[in-house]
Each structure stands twice: as structure tokens, then as C-alpha cells.
């Protein structure tokens, strides 16, 4: 019985359930793919299911990290998929116009152009939300709808194929035997965590999400913070756009990043960030994105029939979301698993599940790793 308090502390950690689901999903694969966890060297780089999951999941992690901060301010950004398409389209069409597509300077310039476009989209979203007072879901819907049209305009409705070795690195290449995109993701996540948890920035973001007006009255520049998170989110989406187009060495204005906004929001929710704003967990989001990517890979490897893909996905997502709800856990597993937040929430059973989930992660200034 001595382990009980420790076990209890573990199950009440905000990352426990997402990580548990991730581990469970990974284990499901073993009977179907016996060497699922094996990683071997192929052509000078590591190769295996786990490497694939991280490689293909990288863009989603990036988009979801940006989305986390937007959601933490009580907003939402539906335009990330379109920003992914625009960035990829601009960058690839610039590279394809070059005589020497592998020239490093041209590739860097092309990536710069793409990312500037992403930042402009973010500024536009931030302007509409913070300055014009338009609801985030409406404000970002504009670029979501129109942006894909812009991407198709840039690519002329065609898929632009490029052949550029340096550009291939960012989303499909390897460095130190690992996919290069892992390093990009690690860098972005590290910078985000450092900025939000080592400085007061994270606290300010949460404060704006908790109550923008009150924050403004105590002297926080709410509007500036809001514009900043939309720009950051768009920048993350832009980098993801570079990765996606680099991964297949092609820009597909029509399909690149299609529905990634929904996967990103899902990843954020699975990670335990409240959609109401005011609290966030970058670590949770990364785990959430990995859960989604693992789920996708699992569907492919265990041979779920095509027609039932989405049903299978939905069933898993429902289970994950229910596990995230302390009220549900309390009902099903008894008080041991679920009581934690009930006590902190002042015993108010009327709180919505989305609200109660992150309250388990009590302190606003939590550690993330």
C-alpha cells in the first residue's frame, strides 16, 4: 500500500493520461508489426516505425504548438492549414523558377519569402482579433477559406515539383542519422518553452486568456499579446508548410495541410489545454500530436479497412477525451483517479469537461519538459 500515494500523484499528473494513451497505441502495433520498436540503419540514417512517426508527425507538432498559445489566450486559429499551403506554394514556386534549384542562397531566400507570407497572415489574423474585436473563429475563417485559393493561384492549380537537395533537408532529409525535422521541432519547442516558462510571457498569455479586460486594466498589453500569439502560430504553420512541401519535394496548393487545423486543435485538447483559455501545456500538446500521428500510423499498419478508418479514429479520440475528464474518471474508476480536480474546483460538478480537464494541472506556472 506504500505505493498508493505515489501512484496517485502519478495518475493526477496532467501528462499521465495522454502519455498512457500514447504508450497503449504504440503497444497495439506490436502483434501486427513484430519489429515495431526496432530501429535500424539504412543508407546512413535511422529507419523504423518510431522514426516515421516523429518524421510525419513533425508538421503537426509545430502547428499544434502555435495553436496552443492562441488557444491559451482564449482564441482559435482556423487558418493554419491555408498558411501551410501558401508557404509551401510560395517557396516551391520561387525555387522552381531558379536556374539552379540547389543553390543554397536561393533556397534560403525562398524559405524567407514563404515565412514572411506566413507572418503577414498571422498579423492579419491578430489585427482582426485584437484590433477589430472580431471573434477569432470568424476572423481566422477568412484566411482558411480564401488562403487555399491564394495558394492555388500561386501554383496555378498545378502541383509544383522541385528538385532541390538543400530544400529537401528540412522536411525529408537526415542529419546525424536522424530526420532533420526532429531538430527543427526540438528547437521550436525549446524556444517556446523557454519564452513562456522562463520569462513572464507565458503568465501574460494565460492572464489574457483568463480575462483580457482585467489583464488590460492591470497594465498588460492584451492586444499586443494577442497579435503576438497569432503571428507566432502562423510562423509555426509556415515552418510546417516548408516541411510538408519539402517532404514530398512538391507544393500541392489544394491538399497541403488540409484539415491540419482540426488535428492541431485535437492535439491541443488531448494535451490538456483548456479551449476556454487561460492555461496551457506545451508538453501536453507535443504528446497530443504524437498520439494523433501514432493513431494514423496504427490505422495503416494494423489493416483497418479503409471505410472504417474514421470510425476507428473517432472511437479512440472519444476514449482519450473521456479519460481526460476527471468527472468521467471518478465515475468509472472511483474516486482514486478522479477526485483530484473535484476538490480544487470547489466541488462544483457543473463545470464542463473541457474546463475540468486542465485544472488537474493546477499551478499556472507548471514545469514543462
Amino acid at each position: 500500500m506504500t505505493t498508493t500515494p505515489r501512484w496517485r500523484a502519478l495518475t493526477q499528473h496532467h501528462l499521465f493520461w495522454p502519455v498512457a494513451v500514447l504508450v497503449f497505441l504504440l503497444l497495439i502495433n506490436v502483434p501486427f508489426t513484430p519489429d515495431f520498436f526496432s530501429i535500424k540503419m539504412t543508407d546512413g540514417h535511422l529507419y523504423g516505425s518510431l522514426v516515421s512517426i516523429v518524421l510525419f508527425g513533425s508538421p503537426l507538432i509545430l502547428v499544434a504548438v502555435g495553436m496552443t498559445l492562441v488557444i491559451a489566450t482564449g482564441g482559435i486559429d482556423l487558418s493554419v492549414g491555408a498558411v501551410v499551403a501558401i508557404t509551401g506554394a510560395l517557396t516551391c514556386s520561387y525555387i522552381s523558377d531558379q536556374a539552379d534549384q540547389s543553390a543554397l542562397s536561393a533556397v534560403l531566400l525562398a524559405m524567407g519569402i514563404g515565412l514572411v507570407a506566413a507572418v503577414v497572415c498571422g498579423l492579419w489574423n491578430g489585427f482582426l482579433v485584437a484590433r477589430m474585436g472580431i471573434q477569432p473563429i470568424i476572423a481566422t475563417l477568412i484566411i482558411m477559406v480564401a488562403g487555399r485559393g491564394v495558394a492555388q493561384l500561386i501554383t496555378d492549380g498545378q502541383i509544383i515539383t522541385i528538385n532541390s537537395e538543400p530544400y529537401k533537408l528540412i522536411g525529408g532529409g537526415y542529419w546525424l542519422t536522424l530526420p532533420f525535422s526532429i531538430f527543427v521541432v526540438a528547437a521550436v519547442v525549446a524556444v517556446t518553452v523557454a519564452l513562456t516558462r522562463r520569462t513572464a510571457l507565458g503568465l501574460l498569455v494565460e492572464s489574457v486568456g483568463g480575462n483580457a479586460e482585467a489583464s488590460r486594466l492591470v497594465g498588460i498589453r492584451s492586444r499586443r499579446i494577442k497579435i503576438m500569439v497569432y503571428v507566432f502560430c502562423a510562423l509555426c504553420a509556415g515552418i510546417a508548410g516548408l516541411m510538408i512541401s519539402s517532404n514530398t519535394s512538391a507544393a500541392d496548393g489544394n491538399n497541403a495541410g488540409l484539415w491540419i487545423e482540426l488535428d492541431a486543435i485535437l492535439a491541443v485538447v488531448i494535451g490538456g489545454t483548456s479551449l476556454l483559455g487561460g492555461r496551457f501545456s506545451i508538453g501536453g500538446t507535443v504528446v497530443g500530436a504524437l498520439v494523433i500521428q501514432t493513431l494514423t500510423t496504427t490505422i495503416y499498419t494494423i489493416g483497418v479497412p479503409t471505410q472504417t478508418n474514421l470510425v476507428f479514429k473517432a472511437a479512440v479520440v472519444i476514449v482519450v477525451c473521456l479519460l481526460q475528464s476527471p468527472k468521467f474518471r471518478a465515475k468509472v474508476f472511483g474516486a482514486k483517479f478522479g477526485s483530484g480536480s473535484g476538490a480544487k474546483g470547489g466541488g462544483k460538478p457543473s463545470a464542463t469537461p473541457a474546463d475540468t480537464a486542465p485544472t488537474t494541472a493546477a499551478a499556472p506556472k507548471m514545469e514543462v519538459s
Binding site: F32, T33, D35, F36, T42, D43, Y47, G48, S49, S52, F56, L128, M132, G133, I134, Q135, I138, A139, L141, I142, V145, A146, G149, Q152, D156, G157, Q158, I159, T161, G172, I244, N247, T248, S249, A250, D252, N254, N255, A256, T296, T297, I299, Y300, T301, I302, G303, T306, Q307, N309
Partner: protein, 334 residues
């Protein structure tokens, strides 16, 4: 809280944005064909959208063929929305064009507008895709590909590919399906399976089959997972070139040689597919021809003249093996 004024601003903003998107670009090329004068045949054509290179090639072919034939073409792009397409067809009816042609976005829901056309005695020709109607007389004919036959042809050409590669014994096949529920995906799979069940029930087996959504990224990701769960795949059958191209990258990342270790057969015949084939990475391509403009114009003339035409006019298509790739490459327009 959002004030009412702000909400209105937002609503107007969105309405303007979607309105711009919705009023489909109607580009009246009447001015191009002044030579025909007032007697020129007027064709109203409503295109699905411009979702792929295949589709843009299809659009260009129709426009070009109409110009060559000296017809006045009223072209509109429905941007993947049925309501846009219905309103385009309605406007053609009001304008009193001679013949209406369109590629339906979806299969059902056309009866009302087609009946209006019939009442005005304007013949309707479908291109590329078919519709389901209660009344078969609502359209004259369909000019388009036979997707089931493409599946059958893919299986037939795979026999040749296997023979050429000297493959003996059991064949383990991975299939990359198109978008779930789309006619080309369902029918290509059906046609392929037909031949497989009839002629190769003992030796061929589809070991994995999954949708790659007709995209390169989808094909790459799904193939990467296939290679993990079934490392001994012999053949890949992809429902379009783009998924095949994505899969090639996944196969290469796994340290295998596409076209050698894993034989690849795809459908469509886009330019990038032919480039991959000329590099030896795809073994055979079954063409799905978007260049149906000339055939369409022929049919339109016949329909206008009151001649009877077949219910389904199949597009002229070819099958290509690797050795034909280099020669065919310069002729690929899309």
C-alpha cells in the same frame, strides 16, 4: 464581449469573402470566336473546379477544342460546389445555349435542373463523371473514362510487368486507394480485383490496402507504414500517379529500389508520373486521359444535329510500359 456592430462587420467581411469565392469566375470566350459570327454553336460548359493538374489539363483541352471547332464557349468554374454548378447551368438555360456540358461535382441532386434544361429542349452532355437520375432521358451521353476498365487494364499490364521482371511464384500486392467513396477509387479497385480473382486467384494477393487520398503526402505516409508492417511487398498498385510518386520516396527511404525491389503500377499518366517512369521508378502507367475536348466537340456537333449517339463515349486511352516512357514524355501536356 463582441458588440453588435463588430459582429456585423465580421459577418459582412465573411459574406464578402465567401461571396467572392462563390460567384464562380464566368469567363465568356465569345469574343475569341468572332469568326463564327452569330451562327456559331454555343456551348455552355460547367467545370468541377481546378483541383489538380489533371483537371487543368481537362479544362485547357475543352477550351482549345471549342476554339478549333469555332464554337462559342461559355465556361464557368464551379469551385467544387454543386450550388455554383446548378446556378451556372440555370444561367445557360436562360441564355438559351445550344448544348450544355458539365462535369458533375457529385453524383446525385441533378434532376431538377436537368428537367429545366429538358423543358427548354437543350441537350445535356456529361463529361468525365456520371450522375444518378430517376430519368435516363435527362442527359444524352457521357464522355469520360471507364474507371473499372482502368483497374482491369492495370491488372493486365501488371502481368506483363511481372513477366518482364522475371518474377516467379506468389505476388504480394499493396494497394494505395484513392479518396474513400470517390468513383475512381471504388471502380479502379473493383476492376483490378475482377481480373485478379478471375486469372490469379492462386498466386496474387492484396496484402494491404489503404487510402492515400490521391495525394503525394498521403501515398508517402501510407507506404512508409506498409513497409513496416509488410516488408516483403512485391508490387504496388496506386490509384493515381501522385500517390505512386509519394510511395516511391517512402520506398527509397526504406533503402529499397522502386521499380526493382517493388514493382509499381499506377493510373493517370501525368507528366511527373512519366518522369518517374523514365527514371525506372514506375514500371507501368495506365492512362486516364483528360484531353477529351476534341471528342466532346464531336459529340456536341452530333447532338446538335439531332444524330443519335451512344450513352457512354469512352475516352481514348493508352497503357504505357517503361520502355515507352522516354518516347512518350515530351508529348505529355499535363
Amino acid at each position: 464581449m463582441l458588440s453588435r456592430r463588430n459582429f456585423l462587420t465580421a459577418a459582412v467581411g465573411v459574406a464578402a469573402a465567401t461571396g467572392l469565392a462563390a460567384c464562380a469566375k464566368e469567363d465568356d470566350s465569345a469574343s475569341d470566336s468572332t469568326s463564327g459570327g452569330s451562327k456559331a454553336l454555343v456551348l455552355g460548359f460547367s467545370q468541377v473546379g481546378s483541383e489538380s493538374g489533371w483537371r487543368s489539363a481537362n479544362t485547357d483541352s475543352v477550351k482549345e477544342a471549342a476554339k478549333t471547332a469555332g464554337y462559342t464557349l461559355k465556361f464557368s468554374d464551379a469551385q467544387q460546389k454543386q450550388e455554383n454548378q446548378i446556378s451556372a447551368i440555370r444561367s445557360y438555360i436562360t441564355q438559351g445555349v445550344d448544348v450544355i456540358a458539365f462535369s458533375p461535382v457529385v453524383v446525385t441532386g441533378w434532376d431538377a435542373v436537368l428537367k429545366e434544361a429538358k423543358a427548354k429542349k437543350i441537350p445535356v452532355v456529361l463529361t468525365d463523371r456520371s450522375v444518378e437520375t430517376s430519368d435516363e432521358s435527362l442527359y444524352v451521353t457521357l464522355v469520360g473514362s471507364d474507371f473499372t476498365d482502368e483497374g482491369r487494364r492495370a491488372a493486365k499490364i501488371l502481368e506483363k510487368v511481372l513477366e518482364k521482371a522475371g518474377h516467379k511464384g506468389a505476388v504480394k500486392i499493396a494497394q494505395l486507394e484513392g479518396t474513400t467513396g470517390a468513383a475512381p477509387a471504388i471502380e479502379r479497385a473493383k476492376g483490378f480485383k475482377e481480373v485478379m480473382d478471375a486469372d490469379h486467384a492462386d498466386d496474387w494477393k492484396i496484402v494491404v490496402s489503404q487510402t492515400g487520398d490521391f495525394t503525394r503526402a498521403g501515398g508517402k505516409q501510407v507506404m512508409a507504414a506498409f513497409l513496416q508492417s509488410n516488408p516483403d511487398i512485391d508490387v504496388l498498385f496506386a490509384h493515381n500517379d501522385d500517390m505512386g510518386i509519394g510511395a516511391i520516396q517512402a520506398i527509397e527511404a526504406a533503402g529499397k529500389k522502386p521499380g526493382k525491389d517493388i514493382l509499381i503500377v499506377t493510373v493517370d499518366g501525368v507528366k511527373d508520373g512519366f518522369i518517374a517512369m523514365s527514371e525506372g521508378k514506375i514500371n507501368a502507367i495506365v492512362e486516364c486521359n483528360p484531353l477529351l475536348g476534341p471528342q466532346l466537340m464531336e459529340v456536341v456537333q452530333k447532338v446538335k444535329d439531332g444524330e443519335t449517339v451512344e450513352r457512354w463515349i469512352k475516352t481514348k486511352e493508352g497503357d504505357f510500359m517503361q520502355d515507352q516512357a522516354k518516347a512518350a514524355l515530351p508529348t505529355r501536356k499535363y
